[in-house]
């Protein structure tokens, strides 16, 4: 039995880790993450030259990776760096959807690699519905064979910068039905799209989108009319695997920062790590983080197994949600006031870690889903 990554993946991870430590300063990251754009175009450009996007994309679409193990390796490194650039949104969600499309749509994946487009999946609709099949945006079939789309999407990350939206919509079925879901790939300058953007607590911008009677041609559908749930579902599961791995990288970094603090911060004449009450709390964090890692490994192993994938993904997302919040809260408490400051790294990691529970379903949602599967 061997849980070590392959030598190639280990090299990729080490290269990225070193790059983030030396080239991706957290203070610059924070300025960019909370700017009007929400990320740094310069950082995005220079990280692309490292081949991060290629490592997330299948060889048939000009990438050199794209497996669950590749994605997990890369996103753990991205988590360590607290990278805010849109690798999840573009390299995973949009690329996975487009890879199931027609030739023109597949060519958009290649254009992603050439930095010629920034497609964004516009799927989520209400704040607290996490079901992957929840879609109320309407698709109307027109007499001329074209379509019209009307509806609203909420909390779409990095949408304001997008060149294309991949809009989920339905022409039949109830709001949560897996039947009747289509995906339309449209340029963002199409008439009838309204974008309202907000600053976020963990960095990057999010937007609410309103689509009013958008005209779509039949070539703009990704997959068959009403049959695209499995495409969205698979893309989101991949996204969950990615952010669970990101959370692991964040937790490892938080563990390092906290351990360093416990060894150096002195009160009552000794490093505070000498107090048994503190040692036990830190030891508990280590135990929990190991469990979190195992949950992600399990989800990675079963990712291509159609019968086990959703269950192990829900188990991982539940574990990450529960453990992530604990790690964030405990590490801030162990740092005292220092953990509360903008200037120190820890708080920024803690914010992202907690907010990961708000993406693709929180711990409660995934526990219930696990029970139902």
């Amino acid at each position: 039995m061997d849980f070590k990554p392959s030598p190639e993946r280990q090299i990729l991870f080490d290269t990225l880790k070193k790059y983030f430590e030396n080239e991706y300063s957290l203070s610059d990251r924070n300025i960019a993450a909370h700017s009007d754009l929400g990320y740094s175009k310069t950082a995005w450009e220079s990280m692309r030259t490292l081949g991060i996007l290629e490592s997330l994309i299948d060889p048939e679409l000009d990438g050199f990776g794209g497996t669950a193990l590749d994605i997990s390796t890369v996103f753990e490194a991205l988590g360590r760096g607290l990278v805010v650039e849109p690798f999840l949104e573009v390299g995973i969600l949009a690329a996975k959807v487009l890879s199931k499309g027609n030739d023109a749509q597949k060519s958009l994946v290649k254009k992603i690699l050439e930095n010629e487009c920034l497609p964004i999946l516009a799927h989520s609709e209400t704040d607290t519905e996490y079901s992957k099949s929840f879609v109320e945006t309407k698709l109307f079939v027109e007499a001329d064979g074209g379509y019209k789309i009307s509806g609203a999407k909420r909390m779409i990350k990095h949408a304001a910068e997008a060149t294309h939206f991949l809009v989920t919509c339905r022409n039949t079925g109830d709001a949560s039905s897996e039947e009747g879901i289509s995906i339309a790939c449209i340029p963002t300058d199409r008439e009838g799209i309204k974008i309202d953007s907000f600053a976020t607590i963990d960095g990057g911008r999010v937007s609410d989108l309103t689509f009013t009677n958008i005209s779509i041609s039949s070539e703009e559908l990704v997959g068959e009319l009403g049959m695209s749930y499995s495409i969205v579902s698979h893309a989101i599961d991949t996204g969950i695997l990615a952010i669970c791995s990101e959370a692991l990288g964040i937790m490892e970094r938080i563990k390092e920062l906290t351990l360093e603090y416990l060894k150096t911060r002195k009160q009552f004449g000794v490093p505070i790590g000498k107090f048994q009450a503190i040692q036990h709390r830190m030891a508990q964090l280590l135990v929990e983080i190991e469990q979190a890692r195992s949950s992600v490994i399990n989800a990675t192993i079963y990712f291509d197994d159609e019968t086990e994938r959703e269950k192990t993904i829900s188990a991982a997302k539940f574990s990450i949600g529960k453990i992530g919040t604990l790690v964030a809260e405990e590490s801030i408490q162990l740092h005292g006031g220092m953990g509360m400051t903008w200037e120190y790294d820890l708080g920024h990691y803690a914010k992202r870690l907690v907010l990961i529970d708000h993406e693709f379903g929180d711990e409660d949602f995934h526990l219930q889903k696990y029970i139902s599967l």
């Binding site: 600053a199 400051t341 903008w342 907010l355």
Partner: protein, 398 residues
Amino acid sequence: MDLNFTKEQENFQIEVRSFLNDNLEPQVVEKVKNGIPITKEDSERWHQKLNEKGWLAGTWPKQYGGQEWDVVEKFIFEEECGSAGAPRIVPFGVGMLAPVLMKFGSQEQRDYWLPRMLTGEDWWCQGYSEPGSGSDLASLKTSAVRDGDHYIVNGQKTWTTFAQHANMIFCLVRTSNEGKPQEGISFILIDMNSPGIEVRPIITLDGSHEVNEIFFSDVKVPAKNLVGEENKGWTYAKYLLTHERTGNANVAVSKRKIQKLKKLADDAKKNEQPLSNDPMFASRLAQIEIDLQNLEITNLRTLASVENGEAPGAESSIIKILGSEIEQDIDNLTRKSLGKRAFVNEPDALSAGYNGAEVFPKAAAYASGKYFNHRKKSIYAGSNEIQKNIISKLMLNL
């Protein structure tokens, strides 16, 4: 056992309620109820309204402009303010320094400083923590050396809340290195406009500016600003901290926040049903409600013992731990209840001049920010670990 208020106490409650109803500004209440920070000006206008009524410092003696409220009247007032969404009275002057001056200050100091707290001429901040002295407060190093009619102060304070608004600070300073660290500490009042003082903001992880670092280099402080005796400051500081911790139950504020949370959960949908019907959410909410009900009684038991003449001891540590953790639990569940909306951070969304997109529900504007900001509650005013040390020592004799 009798948990009811007396007729007089009930009448007082009605009077407070009607005063709040007539005098609170709706736009300030909206900010408070949605968990959004208020401005210095919002606080000052409210202090002035309360002062006109004689309620800014209700527990003070009548000769200084107070009402001589007992613990139950203070409790009633604070609970009514909490449920109405009134701004919290900024505590550093009226709630913290004033009791110290009344017990340990000179008559001249009381006559000069107390009225100015009521009129708002002085905005006080608290100079306790230092970079190397947090939980181990007695190790503080900022020094005050006597030089004729003055002390010369050098050193650094940190985590100073609202120092950016303050014109005065009360400080713990080291006046002796003899004996135990606690025995060389003095309590002194310093004008923030003195030459040699520099205030630098500390921005917290939610992006807000509440706390500061303060640097003192050769700051001249008149010797008459020393409170009580030299090297007795630790006694005064402990007296102040016990006062600081008694008002930490925040039961009414937490009840109001739970009502708000229920409303959010009724309006949100999960699995096409109200989120409040979700068994996991309902279970989380019910546990917090039960904890809060229990705290309400624990707090009243402490009040009753104080009313019967017992000094607040380690009980205030119990209240501090529970009050802070329950409020954090509510903030946590509020964040969770907003789902994806919890990513939003637009704390100015209810302020005049905000020109971004409308945030709905309004509570989402700062819910995550509030959650992260309130992690401070288990850290400040003596971290909850320090409270457990106090309980272990004073109640368990370990």
